[in-house]
Symmetry: C2
Subunit: 142 residues, 2 copies
DNA sequence: TTAGATGCAAATAGTTTGCATTTGT
DNA sequence: ACAAATGCAAACTATTTGCATCTAA
């Protein structure tokens, strides 16, 4: 399995994990889908690319990626089925309409001051963050 | 079912929902547990208080509370079983150690400027937010 | 070569649904 | 009185596990 490794794949290698077809396919699905994706969608898209990759391996990969902070589970709909977010630069922000579940992504946030303050206060090394605002969108507010 | 209604219970009534034993018990469990609690824990604690409350009603209540923005599902452990957060004043913040899943709550955040800016930009009315930092805690960093 | 990863299928666990009955208003 | 909510049990969906086999390093 020799090919150009993305930064994320490299993170995996650096942590001592092997580059396998299942893992690369899941990563590809995430990178091609951009934003949010549920485990169900991951299963479907991976199956569409390679029918032979087992569900179990996909779940194991989701676990691994979460531990490596490549993705982060979050919650859009009420219950069951987490939704995963790719962590592009270790952070992510969005607004969710609590009525229609529409997701609006935004980029500008300025949390570095707060982050540093927290690092000092709790002696923790922060690697990323997820900021979720919720409210009622224009369409639903009518 | 006549008793002092908490602010949250009142929100439920105002929205036209009935005050029932199942709902009050779930609310009590949330309020007594303070921070984060998984659906599994809610099921257990409710059963401990009143054996006769059905699981289905508890899930229906979790749904309702989420719609009313009384609670918000989030994700601590990798997959399965969402964890719910009571939304005390419509916002919540914590730091999660991605290694041991320890949760550190903190209160000071200053997102009101950002919130106003987003409201203006997207014509959305924001009701709350969840800010999640993740990193490696002191203990795990050793 | 070999520890780590996989795919399969079976086992678990978590959530939802239909419906007759009960309950808050 | 009556619509809303409940409890039960069954159906369903999602996730995990054990294990023999395979494969990246």
């Amino acid at each position: 399995m020799t090919e150009q490794l993305s930064k994320r794949a490299r993170r995996m290698v650096d942590a001592g994990y092997k580059v396998t077809k299942a893992r690369m396919t899941v990563l590809r699905v995430f990178e091609e889908s951009g934003g949010h994706i549920t485990s169900k969608e991951v299963l479907e898209r991976v199956a569409a690319i390679d029918e032979n990759i087992g569900r179990a391996s996909i779940f194991r990969t989701l676990d691994l990626f979460t531990r490596l902070a490549i993705i982060r589970p979050t919650y859009i709909e009420t219950s069951m089925t987490p939704s995963y977010v790719l962590l592009p630069d270790g952070h992510h922000h969005h607004i969710i309409c609590t009525n229609c579940d529409q997701v609006i992504e935004f980029d500008n946030c300025d949390l570095s001051d707060l982050a540093h303050q927290l690092e000092a206060e709790y002696g923790i090394e922060l690697t990323g963050h997820l900021l979720e605002f919720y409210g009622i969108c224009k369409t639903c507010a009518v």
